[in-house]
Symmetry: C2
Subunit: 401 residues, 2 copies
C-alpha cells in the first residue's frame, strides 16, 4: 500500500522525545527518516528507562516507543569529513529536524543557513523548550517544567494540596505534534511554490496553545481557576463533572449530563436540591461527596451499565495494563508489536489514525545505534572506501543486528 | 505574507473542541475554512462557558478560543435544497471535517461516499471518541472519559488518593492534532497523486498513542506504574523529579539533574545518603519530603536563581494569569487579541509556531452564527434569490455583526 509521505527524505538530528516522536509520526506515514545519532552511544534516550529495568535486558522503553520506522546513521558531527558528507546528503533531502538547545547545532555547522546554502528548498524544523531567543533561551526546557510554567499544573489536583503534574510527558508530545503541523504545512507549500523555510517550535508555546480556552476564560472573564477540593475534574467546571468511587474499589468518570438524569439513575432524589447551575458550581465539592456516596453503592460494571443506559456520559478509569486489554482498544488494534534484534517482541501502541488510501503502518523496529550507516551512505553515493575509513577512525559507529 | 495553506477550502461541519481546534490550526495556516453550523443556535460550544460568565456578556470563551480565522454558514442540514447546495459547494472544496457521533452525518447524506460521488478527490476527516465501530461505538466520547480510559488519569495524583484528571481538555486537543496530521498528509498525497481519501481519528487512540512510552514500559517490563505519595512528578520516576514548595507559598519543579548537584546547591549534604538510583526510586517519597524541607527554606525567586546557576533543570509553577505575564511568554508574543463584534477585544493565545516564509496569523475573530452565509453562498455561485429564500424559510441563519 502507498504511504502519504513516500519519497520524502528527512535528516533527523533529534533526540529524547519531542523530535523523535515527530519524525516517527512522519515515518509511520512513509517518510524516509534517517536518524543521525552521535557516534558511540547515540540518542541520550537509549540510556533512560522506567523501573530501572530494560526491555530484553538492554533496550530503553522510551527509545523503543519513539523510533520505529527509522534507520540509524551514527556519526561524529564534529568531523569535517562528516560535515561534508551530510551537506552532500542534504542536497537530496527534503526536511531537517533537530531539538538541541538553541544554537548548539548551528555552531557545529548544521544550522538552517548551512543547509539552505546547499539546498534552497530545504525545510528546517527546530524544537526547543522556550523558543530560540528571549530571557529563558539558555534555560533547560523539559516537559514537567513546561507543565508548571504553562498553568496546566496549577489547574490540576486539589485546592488544599499542591499542584499536580500529569503522569505522562504531554508537553513533549504536543511539541512533537506542532513539529508535524509545521513540517507538513511547509511541505505542501513547497510542493506548490518550490520554496523551503525554517520552522521553530517550542514546548512552552505548544502547551499554552492547547490551553487556549482556559487562557481565554481567565484573561477575559476576570476570574481565576481555583482547584476544587474533591474529585471534580476541572477547576472551571461544576458538579457532577468528575471522578467517582465504586463499591469494588474502582473509579468511574462522569462528564456533562443532565443532573436530574444522574440522580434519578442513582435513585437519589434527595440530590434534587442542588439542581441548578449556580449551586452545582458553588457547592461542587459538597455535591461531589453526595454523589460519591451514591456511586459507592454500586460495583463498577453495574454502575456503568446503569449510567450508560440513561445516556449519562461516563467511562471506567483504567490503569495502563487494563487499558491495553480494554475491548475497544482491542477492537481498534491499537496495541501491536514489532520484532527487535535485541529486545525481541516489543509491544507498542500503533498508529492512532486510519486512512483509506495511505494507512500508516509499522514496518521496522527502532534501530540500533548506526545500524544502517553503511547502506544509507551507499545510497547517497558515498564510496565503500570512505565508509570504511569513517568506521576505522571512529567517526562512524555501526551496530550489527 | 503568503500562508502555507492558501487555496485550500475546507467544509467544516465540526463542533465543540476536537474538530474546531483542528480547523483553526488549518485556518491559521491560510486555509479557507467554512464553518457549517446548524441554523438557529449554531455550534453547541457557543452555549458553554467557565465561571457561569460570558465574554462581553454574551460570548463563550470556549467558542472564542477555537474558531478564529473561520467564516460561518448556518444551515438546516435536513433541507433537501441545502443538501443540494452543499454538494455543489463540495465540488470546489478540498477537505470535509466533522466530529458528530459515528453515522449521524452520513444518515443526513453527508458521509464520505456522498462527497466522493461529487468530488472523487475530496479528503474527508471524521473524529469521534472511540472510533467508528466496535463495542463503544454508541457511547458518548468525551475528553475526561478518555483520560480515565487511557490510563492517563491512573498515572496522575497520589497513590493514597483517587486518580486525578488533568485540569484541561488535552484528549480533545490531541485529537485535533491527529486530524491535522491526517489531513495535511492526505493533502500532500493528493497533490502528488490526485487521490483523495477518508481519514478516521478518535480521542482514545490519539491519547494512547501519546502515552506510548508508558505503554511500552508497562507491557514489556512486567511492572505497573504506582502513583507516589508525594510531589514526585511521574509514577515511573525516581526522586527528585517533582514539584517542591518554597518559603513564600510558591512551587518549583525540579526535573532530571544530578542529585549531588541538587543537595550541594541546597546546602543539604545529609541528603547524600540517598544518592544512588535504586534508593532514589524506592525511597522517593521520603526523599521528596527531605528535599521539600530544604526548598521551603528559600523564596521562589531565590531558589530558582540558585538552582539555575547550578544548571539544575527547574522552573516556577505559575497559574494561568501569571503564566500570561511570564517574561518568556511575553517575549514570544504568545498572548495576543482580536476584535470581536460582540465580545470586544478578546485576549487569546496566538499561533504556537514560527515559520520564516508562511507565518500563521490571526486575521479574523470567531464568527457569529451564520455571519458570512450570504457572501459564502454567493462565492459558490448561489443566486441572491435562492439565498433570500433560504433565509426566509428558516433554513439559513444570518447574524449581523
Amino acid at each position: 500500500m502507498n504511504k502519504a509521505l513516500n519519497g520524502v527524505t528527512i535528516l533527523d538530528f533529534s533526540h529524547l522525545l519531542q523530535g523523535p516522536f515527530a519524525t516517527q509520526l512522519l515515518a509511520d506515514m512513509g517518510a524516509n527518516v534517517i536518524k543521525i545519532e552521535r557516534a558511540g552511544s547515540g540518542d541520550m534516550f537509549r540510556s533512560m528507562t522506567f523501573f530501572a529495568k530494560w526491555v530484553g535486558g538492554s533496550e530503553s522503553p522510551n527509545f523503543l516507543a519513539w523510533n520505529r520506522n527509522k534507520r540509524s546513521l551514527a556519526l561524529n558531527l564534529k568531523s569535517p569529513e562528516v560535515h561534508a558528507i551530510i551537506m552532500e546528503m542534504a542536497k537530496k533531502a527534503d526536511v531537517v529536524v533537530q531539538n538541541f538547545r538553541p544554537g548548539v547545532l548551528a555552531k557545529l555547522g548544521y544550522g538552517y543557513e548551512d543547509f539552505k546554502a546547499v539546498n534552497p528548498g530545504i525545510i528546517y524544523c527546530s524544537g526547543s523548550g522556550y523558543g530560540e531567543d528571549g530571557p529563558y533561551v539558555t534555560r533547560p526546557g523539559q516537559d514537567m517544567l513546561i507543565q508548571g510554567l504553562s498553568g496546566l499544573m496549577a489547574n490540576t489536583g486539589r485546592g488544599d494540596q499542591n499542584p499536580v503534574p500529569v503522569g505522562a510527558g504531554l508537553a513533549d508530545q504536543i511539541g512533537a505534534m506542532n513539529m508535524v503541523y509545521g513540517i507538513l504545512s511547509a511541505l505542501y507549500y513547497r510542493e506548490k511554490t518550490g520554496i523551503g523555510q525554517k520552522i521553530e517550535v517550542n514546548l512552552l508555546a505548544g502547551l499554552i496553545a492547547h490551553l487556549n480556552q482556559e487562557y481565554v476564560g481567565v484573561l477575559n472573564l476576570g476570574e481565576d481557576f481555583v482547584r476544587p477540593n474533591s474529585g471534580i475534574g476541572h477547576p472551571g467546571m461544576q458538579a457532577p463533572f468528575g471522578v467517582y468511587e465504586t463499591a469494588d474499589g474502582g473509579y468511574v468518570t462522569i462528564a456533562m449530563s443532565p443532573f436530574k438524569t444522574l440522580y434519578e439513575t442513582l435513585e437519589a432524589p434527595a440530590l434534587a436540591v442542588y439542581d441548578d447551575l449556580g449551586t452545582l458550581f458553588e457547592k461542587r465539592d459538597e455535591v461531589w461527596e453526595k454523589v460519591n456516596a451514591e456511586t459507592k453503592k454500586f460495583g463498577t460494571a453495574d454502575l456503568l451499565d446503569r449510567l450508560l443506559a440513561a445516556d449519562i456520559w461516563c467511562a471506567e478509569v483504567k490503569d495502563i495494563r487494563k487499558a491495553a486489554e480494554d475491548p475497544q482498544v482491542t477492537h481498534l488494534g491499537l496495541i501491536t508489536s514489532y520484532e527487535h534484534p535485541r529486545a525481541g517482541t516489543v509491544r507498542v501502541v500503533g498508529p492512532a489514525i486510519r486512512m483509506s488510501e495511505t494507512q500508516p503502518t509499522i514496518d521496522r523496529p527502532a534501530p540500533l545505534v548506526g545500524q544502517h550507516g553503511r547502506e544509507i551512505l551507499a545510497e547517497f553515493g558515498i564510496s565503500a572506501e570512505t565508509i570504511a575509513r569513517l568506521e576505522e577512525g571512529g567517526d562512524m559507529t555501526v551496530s550489527e543486528a
